[in-house]
Amino acid sequence: MLEDLQVGNENKSRQVTLFSLFYAFLKMGSFTFGGGIAMLPLLQVELVEKNNWLDHQEYADCLMVAQSTPGPIVVNLSLVSGYRLLGLKGGLSALLGVILPSFLLLLAIAIFLWQYRENPLAHAAFRGIGPAVVALIAAAAVKLGKNVLFGYRSLLLLVLFLGGLIVFNIHPLYVIIFGGLAGFFLPSAKDGRREE
């Protein structure tokens, strides 16, 4: 199966090299704002439409793996698609490309700018950004929830988990573990829209 994944890219329009892979992910890592998720549509353009390195189905497969394994989605996606194109070295080049910009930029911010957070102008601006950040997170929860939660079992689990996290301060990793166990053991009669 490993061989299957790595062949398949012979009649692609543009040859993929370790450097071109690194560079494609570097561009994505440098110019997409708003977190990793904002990169996904642009990555699709870069990998599928522009360079023809992957077809739509292959990209969808990579994305599915990236979303269903732990860790930042873009990190997983870079590893998986880089691996599919050029093996382990490809995965690592893509990974390096995607994390290097934010690592260096945030390092520069931590070194040179973090101390100015206490400056009155910056402080006032950040205090105003706070409520906007809350709204962005809350909207993400609602929008995502509408798309993936079906049936009252999901809602019951959601309420249980939220209560545990907010009222009882349980460690978030238990929520992940219990969520996985509940999905594994409980019959999924009600939230079956995905299984249909």
Partner: protein, 175 residues
Amino acid sequence: MLILLWQLFVAYFKIGLFGFGGGYAMLALIEYEIVKVNQWLSITEFIDIIAVAEMTPGPVAINAATVTGYRVAGFAGAAIATLGVIFPSLMIAIPAAKLVSHFYHNPRLHRTLSGLYPAVIALIGAAAVVVGRNAVTDLPGALFAAACLLLLFLTRLHPLIYIGAGAIFGLIFYL
């Protein structure tokens, strides 16, 4: 120093290992490990990191790891924390890709993952509550957050616009 680096690595390793569902879902994990348990960052610093992460490219987990690591243990800390958060991906994502056909056809795995949906949404909701408790401190802030929320549901504006509007709102009300 070595112990500190090890603790940084372990904390971010945990965040990577249990970080299902993308950046927003990881916020609750980061807050728990970094602010609550280890107290490497204050809650305001944590909120500022989310704000900066919205303004800069790249995954929020990488951004948070870099800043936390640097603040705790300099350059080595930044590198170790970042390595910690991507390490689980390195171990899991590629082997998982090799099993991609099983991913499609194994209903049990499918069920397990769909069981994670309520967990992921709960984590994002909890992050909104934790950040909200600390970031929304007065009536103008609450009204501004409500206005943003309304726009987020009604329009498809880029997140950067909300950050920019927040900065302007802050400069008007909190200077």
